[in-house]
């Protein structure tokens, strides 16, 4: 984990991993140089190895195909990648709470030795749990903000929503045995669910 975080910054690594879990379309990751490209290819290899045995059982999450290019390689033929979802490492500065939490988790994991296996184990758990919830629970009320004019009904709706949030959070806490990981999983769940619904609507 330390090696990875020294070539790629924790936030960049977080952006790539979050994209692998949440984006349903094929990814083109643009690194700034050869060093970053090599490090990313290592990360991807490990990610695909870790997630491989569970890939067949995922019902809603589609692990995308990925290509890593350097800045130079990408701009030379950028027209070829129209239609791909682009991930520029420089976009890791995005103000996104999921990136904040995930990068903090990776930073802390990098401080300890021999944590790489645990990180991929956590990611695999995260993916399978999120996929389970996406395929078995209707999460639409949690991701779509309903506009209810009646104050009483609105209050009831908000309370219901809060209870649902608490139930999901406690489910994640029970499975992941960590409050911060549960928080990350919850936020990821909402994002992934949103992407899945968007994807379904597009089709």
């Amino acid at each position: 984990m330390q090696g990875m975080v020294s070539t790629l910054r924790d936030r960049e690594l977080a952006l790539v991993l979050v994209s692998l879990i949440s984006e349903m379309t094929d990814l083109c990751i643009v690194a700034r140089n050869e060093g970053e490209k090599m490090a990313l290819n290592d990360v991807l290899r490990e990610f695909y190895n870790a997630i491989g045995p569970y890939r067949g059982s995922l019902k809603k999450i589609r692990i995308p195909r990925t290509i890593v290019l350097t800045d130079e390689e990408y701009y030379r033929d950028w027209e070829k990648y129209s239609g791909w979802r682009l991930i520029f490492l420089e976009d890791s500065r995005l103000r996104w709470s999921i990136l904040d939490i995930f990068s903090k988790y990776l930073r802390e994991a990098a401080k300890k030795s021999n944590t790489k296996g645990y990180v991929y184990l956590d990611i695999t758990k995260l993916v399978t749990l999120i996929d389970f919830l996406c395929s078995s629970v209707d999460l639409r009320p949690l991701i779509v903000e309903l506009e209810i004019e009646d104050k009483k009904k609105r209050k009831e709706y908000m309370e219901k929503k809060k209870r649902a949030e608490e139930r999901i959070l406690s489910f994640f806490q029970e499975k992941l045995k960590d409050k911060r990981k549960a928080e990350l999983a919850y936020r990821m769940l909402l994002y992934v669910a949103k992407r899945i619904y968007e994807h379904t609507e597009e089709q």
Binding site: P64, R65, I67, E72, Y75, W78, E79, W84, W96
Partner: protein, 302 residues
């Protein structure tokens, strides 16, 4: 400033790619937050509302065209500047690119050729059926394979008849020759013709070499020879006037005629940029587009 030597080609491709970028806001931003951000960045509520509506769906070029149709005068360069600033501040990211017009044409042409070339079914024997293997996510070793683009959405560009005169071009100094190549391959003139229906001609000339470097005309009876003569005279007089009257450096001149406006400006290396607009064009729109055009061209100068 972009240098056209060395990795000039890459820089040029990068320059062109910016107009096809599709931006997406941070998932944490709600529609209201986004609107607030864009109002702050553009200082115009109507413009902000429209950009919020288009962002994530269209590329920079298409957004600029759609804004035009909604009577909001913005060039692709203006849209790019706004979006890129918010990207640098961490509110937006680039998630894809649209497809350039000639790429769409190339793909369509390929499809047509394929149809024409295909032999009638009674001549060609069908190959034995092969059972398709299950779709697998490729391992890292298969990552170098470049598949065809997933979706091709044609940008809503109105095609306009454009005349381009092929001209005799004496050998140019290398820096100018690379610059002209850059302007041509970035299709800057074409983009402005598509964006602004009032544009009738755009000419880039070198006073130093005394030639027209690149020109594009639409429904107007002007030739490069006429243009060159008038550009040399006007810029010289404008330059002289600003010097004699001590007005500072000459930047732009606007000429108003019965039928047209002509706007011209002097760039580095004694290069002159001129554009002819129809008389009906709102002045603000003309100045905005001309300055955007000038900005884009200046970026390509060595």
């Amino acid at each position: 400033m972009m240098t056209m030597s060395g990795d000039g080609h890459k820089e040029l491709k990068k320059f062109r790619q910016r107009f096809y970028r599709i931006y997406e806001p941070s998932p944490d931003l709600g529609k209201k937050d986004l609107l607030r951000l864009f109002i702050k960045a553009t200082k115009q509520r109507r413009l902000a509302e429209l950009i919020v509506e288009f962002i994530g769906k269209y590329d920079v070029n298409t957004i600029a065209q759609k804004l035009r149709r909604k009577k909001v005068a913005m060039s692709a360069m203006d849209v790019f500047d706004i979006l890129e600033k918010l990207r640098k501040d961490g509110y937006l990211r680039v998630v894809g690119t649209g497809l350039p017009k000639e790429e769409i044409k190339r793909i369509e042409a390929k499809r047509v050729t394929k149809k024409v070339v295909e032999a009638p079914p009674h001549i060609v024997e069908a190959p034995p059926a092969i059972e398709a293997p299950p779709v697998e996510i490729p391992g890292i070793e298969a990552l170098e394979v470049i598949p065809t683009p997933l979706e091709v959405e044609s940008p809503e560009v109105q095609l306009v008849p454009i005349q381009q005169y092929v001209q005799f071009r004496p050998s140019l100094p290398e820096h100018l020759s690379r610059f002209v190549e850059g302007v041509q391959s970035a299709e800057i003139f074409e983009r402005y013709f598509a964006l602004n229906e009032y544009v009738k001609a755009i000419v880039l000339a070198s006073r130093e070499a005394n030639i027209v470097l690149h020109s594009l005309y639409r429904d107007i009876n002007i030739t490069d020879t006429n243009t060159l003569a008038f550009l040399a005279t006007i810029t010289e007089h404008s330059d002289k006037a600003t010097r004699v009257l001590e007005l500072g450096e000459f930047k732009e001149t606007i000429i108003e005629a019965d039928l047209y406006y002509i706007m011209l400006s002097r760039l580095k290396y004694e290069i002159v940029l001129a554009a002819v607009f129809e008389r009906d064009i709102p002045l603000g729109l003309m100045i905005r587009d001309f300055l955007s055009l000038k900005k884009e061209i200046t970026e390509l100068l060595p």
